[in-house]
């Protein structure tokens, strides 16, 4: 076991190799490792973010679906209401129309009644005069008794 200049040679070789390693070998490899780590971290983060986005989108979709359902229900409700309203309006209109027609008919009837009455009145006067002439065998002065006859006709 001789100690000799091999020690010095080994020390020189050691520092040369260590320097070479620190200058040319270590930095690129460590940098590549760090880069890959960052890439993977970014990828994982993106995946997490995408998952969150998906969750949000699903939430929004569910919400929209719920809104749409509510809207649809509202619209159907409104439509039903409107239909009822239309039916009611139609009923009201029909009733009014009926009443109006009835009123018109009654007015006409009354008019015809009064016409008939007028007609009758005139005829009653003539008949009464004719009857009285026959009874009295003499003509009655229509002019003299006209006023009397008109009073009679008006009282009918």
């Amino acid at each position: 076991m001789n100690l000799n200049a091999t020690i010095i040679g080994q020390i020189i070789a050691f520092f040369l190799f260590a320097w070479f390693c620190s200058a040319y070998v270590w930095p690129p490899i460590v940098k590549a490792l760090a880069d890959r780590q960052k890439k993977i971290a970014d990828g994982l983060e993106a995946a997490t973010r995408a998952g969150k986005d998906l969750e949000l989108a699903q939430d929004r979709a569910t919400e929209m679906l719920r809104d749409a359902k509510t809207n649809a229900a509202g619209i159907i409700d409104q439509a039903n209401k409107r239909a009822n309203q239309i039916v009611d309006e139609a009923k009201d209109k029909a009733r009014e129309e009926g009443l109006r027609i009835k009123a018109g008919a009654q007015a006409e009837i009354e008019q015809q009644v009064s016409q008939a009455r007028e007609h009758l009145r005139q005829q009653v006067a003539v008949l009464a005069v004719a009857g009285a002439e026959k009874i009295l065998q003499s003509s009655v002065d229509a002019k003299a008794h006209g006023e009397l006859l008109n009073k009679l006709a008006a009282s009918l």
Partner: protein
């Protein structure tokens, strides 16, 4: 370990010869001893052939006598080769690294880098961009050097002997079984500890930590006696832990190698067990480096 080698050597010398091991070894002890010698390059010392000239040591004594200014060409060379393999492997990936879908080799490299990165993140509280690549270099380089322990113990030496044309050539393959290599690594870490301690805390702060803790300034000698050995033990323990584990494993492989045809039954279990030791020791060295440098960056 030495007794084990001796016992194995005496008992198994005949087995080795029977199995057709290198006839060059007189017995098992010599076989093991030969495999534990380094290919040492230095100035031939006085009293040896070619004294005063530079060359490879021919014997163990000559290698020792060459003194400090000699070098283990085998372990140093394979240490550089494994380091270059590590750099080349990681460079090919870092050149065309992509943050998209990674390919096969990039997957492997990324797994290692992430292991190192998470170890640094959980252990190192300061801010220093050099700790990560430093820990990666330590882990991968030591791991590759240890892996050479799984190459059959005779293969690399035989190849080296074949290339050199010298059947007595010493060649030790696993760099981390050379205490010079592990000490070189741990001393580098020790230098970094010193550097960052002084850089973060200043010279005064760093020396103050050694001198005024844990008992305050009135117990300065006692503090020094407690803190200095603990501080100096860091590089020693780092170097010897790695060296001891791998050296022991190597010696066991060598002893198993003496068993002739029977070695297959022991070789495989021991190699499988060693599969645990190899990454564990590399990981330990890396973690302790991070821990020590973390202490260097922290104010107490």
């Amino acid at each position: 370990m030495a007794e084990a080698a001796e016992v194995a050597g005496e008992e198994l010398a005949s087995a080795a010869e029977h199995a057709g091991e290198e006839a060059a070894y007189a017995n098992g002890g010599e076989y093991i001893n030969h495999h534990l010698q380094f290919l040492t390059y230095g100035k031939h010392p006085e009293g040896y052939p070619d004294a005063g000239h530079w060359g490879f040591a021919h014997t163990e004594e000559e290698a020792t006598d060459m003194g400090f200014w000699s070098i283990h060409v085998d372990t140093m060379g394979l240490s550089l080769v494994t380091g270059l393999i590590f750099i080349a492997l990681f460079m090919t990936v870092s050149r065309k690294v992509t943050s998209g879908v990674p390919g096969g080799l990039q997957n492997l490299v990324e797994a290692i880098v992430e292991l190192v990165q998470s170890s640094v993140k959980t252990t190192f509280q300061g801010h220093n961009d050099f700790i990560g690549p430093l820990a990666l270099t330590i882990f991968c380089w030591i791991f590759l050097m240890n892996m050479l322990d799984l190459v059959p113990v005779d293969l690399i030496p035989l190849a080296a002997q074949g290339i050199a044309g010298d059947s007595h050539l010493f060649f030790k393959a696993v760099p981390t079984t050379d205490v010079n290599i592990t000490a070189g690594l741990s001393l580098s870490v020790f230098l970094l500890i010193l550097f960052y301690s002084v850089k973060v805390k200043g010279v005064g702060g760093f020396l103050g930590e050694l001198a005024f803790q844990p008992f305050g300034k009135w117990a300065l000698p006692l503090n020094l006696v407690m803190e200095l050995p603990a501080f100096l033990a860091k590089p020693v323990s780092l170097a010897l832990r790695l060296f001891g584990n791998l050296f022991a494993g190597e010696v066991i492989f060598l002893i198993i190698g003496l068993l002739g045809y029977w070695q297959a039954f022991l070789h495989i279990p021991w190699a499988i067990f060693h599969l645990l030791v190899i990454p564990l020791q590399a990981y330990l060295f890396m973690m302790l480096t991070i821990v020590y440098l973390n202490q260097a960056h922290q104010h107490h």
